[in-house]
């Protein structure tokens, strides 16, 4: 264990002199993630125009292997081209993961900041209400809500948004609480500015970076969950092309064509990892402290 003194406080002496923060940069891994996320978004936007109709299948050519002529990723049980389905499915899979996070980011930030800036009772009311949603195992709650609302991509988005709001709100609330007693907030209140103005111009610039970092990583999680709901039959319905549904579709053939199920799974994994790495990169870039994953 030579490592110990290495981690003994590497304490650069406190300097109240000019502390010029080093220009923060993203790591190479994070840059790769930026490229991957860019590619995924590009595929989602223009992909459907580049490949054939994902729903046209030729049953005589079913379960073709990966690398077959004309079907790079093979075909599925109904003879449909897997690559086409994967590319076209990108849009829906991405949206199903992205939209709940956007929704949760806005609502969660609003709730968290409101709770953080209001008095004891306002704070307690909001946070205790969120605690109720926190008390459910997240995935199960999403499944229950989706089941109650019935299948369909919009219902799956609502279900995921509901479970993502409380953690985002907690991140925003923690950051807001950290700020309220700081000197500059006191100066802002003493300036006579309205609450809204303080929230918007003094608090939000500080709350936004950790929320953005957190939500970027959440997108990865949300993509996995959204595909999972489809996998359980609670998301989009067949024959729509979507990654989770493809996994569940291809499961029937795991013995005859084992790679088939791995292809959409890999797509989900890559997208999720990319957003997670991007989140880490943004954390370094925006100088947000610590792990923010709930």
């Amino acid at each position: 264990m030579t490592a110990l003194t290495d981690v003994a406080p590497p304490r650069p002496p406190a300097a109240t002199g000019v502390t010029r923060r080093r220009r923060r940069r993203m790591s190479t891994t994070a840059r790769i993630a930026v490229v991957v996320v860019g590619l995924i978004v590009a595929v989602a936007v223009i992909g459907p125009f580049l490949v054939g109709d994902p729903n046209v299948g030729d049953t005589s050519r079913r379960l073709l292997a990966v690398g077959s002529p004309g079907h790079v990723f093979g075909t599925d049980g109904q003879g449909r081209d897997v690559l086409s389905r994967l590319v076209v499915g990108t849009r829906l899979s991405l949206l199903a993961g992205l939209v709940p996070v956007l929704f949760a980011a806005v609502l969660g930030t609003g709730l968290g900041m409101t709770a953080g800036l209001s008095g004891v009772w306002g704070h307690r009311t909001i946070m205790r209400t969120l605690d109720v949603f926190y008390a459910f195992p997240a995935v199960l709650l999403a499944i229950a809500i989706a089941a109650a609302l019935g299948s369909g991509v919009s219902n799956s988005i609502i279900a995921l948004a509901v479970i993502l709001v409380p953690p985002v709100a907690r991140v925003a609330e923690t950051e807001t609480r950290r700020l309220v007693d700081l000197d500059y907030m006191e100066a802002a209140r003493a300036s006579g500015a309205s609450r809204g103005s303080i929230a918007l111009r003094q608090v939000l610039p500080n709350v936004a970076p950790p929320v953005v970092v957190y939500c970027t990583a959440l997108i990865g999680l949300s993509i996995v969950y959204a595909a999972g709901l489809s996998f359980l039959g609670l998301g989009v319905s067949p024959p729509t092309a979507e990654w989770g549904l493809m996994v569940s579709d291809h499961t029937q053939y795991i013995y005859s064509a084992p790679f088939l199920a791995a292809i959409p799974a890999l797509a989900i994994l890559i997208a999720s990892v990319a957003f997670n790495v991007l989140g880490d990169g943004l954390r370094d870039l925006l100088d947000v402290r610590g792990e923010v994953r709930a």
């Binding site: 000019v18 923060r21 004891v120 500059y184 006191e186 100066a187 300036s191 006579g192 103005s197």
Partner: protein, 344 residues
Amino acid sequence: MGARSNEILLEATGLTKTFGNGVRAVSDVSLSVRRGETLGVVGESGCGKSTTGKMLLGLLAPDEGEITFDGWPLAKMRRPELRALRARLQVVPQNPQTSLNPRLTVRASIEFNLRVHGVPRGERGERVLGLLDRVGLTAAQSERFPHELSGGQLQRVAIARALSTSPELVVCDEAVSALDKSVQAQVLNLLADLQRETGVAFLFISHDLAVVEHISDRVAVMYLGRVVELAPARQLWAEPQHPYTVALLSATPGRGQERIVLSGELPNPAAPPSGCGFRTRCPIAEDVCATDWPALADAAPGHTAACVHVGRPDHAVAQMLPPPTVPPRAAPADTADPAPSVPG
């Protein structure tokens, strides 16, 4: 000199504040600040000086008591009136590292104040540069973020922000405590210059007695949520009346006099002792001290102290210590080697 006069600008009477955890942070504090003067408030941590400052700024509502600013009662004012009044009453906070929003540039921090007080967008830029110039900063520094500035520069920005609305009173809450001494002197000079030029009054809250003595016209000493002594600065140092003040002054390092070391520590503010809160540490406490916290009594014109001994002919404070006669930092020569004088 500015408009230093006897006109009272801010007056607080009987301020009391108890927090939710039962800590009575401030009890029955009455203070007044005159136009253009500097009122120093000293005390150790937990004495209620910062809570008092927050109440005077209108950031914290007192449980009891009243605050009037230029004759206006703070508690009864409506929001638009209060906002207009806030322009006249500003704050310079303590910690240079947190007195400015880390995500805003220097310019944006000051413009926030200007915007609140209705300075049109077009004029703000010029006003910011003028203010920065006045506190000794350059236009180039207006686009910097707080982490790019030194502690002294940050406090200069905080002062510029406070001055942006041409206030009549600025509450300086430990505004120079975190600065290095060589930089602290610059900021103290700046505050004095600004007071001379604009006639602004300061409420100067600090635990640093030397700084308070230097900058204040009058000084209030607080202990356990109360003002225990209030006097013109010179007089307080020359003839302290409250035993706590005597001990506090003597404990200040570097004054070259004998030191009175108080035993024990501050009592728990949630469960203060009966009677005078200082009696458990007071070297001259008597039985009567356990019954009531004494009211502020006149010791001399403009000099009051809350101690039963005040005004008695045999005031025991006089026996605690001879008044400090040795000038500060003129070291006694007998302990040192004879230093040969070297030209230069």
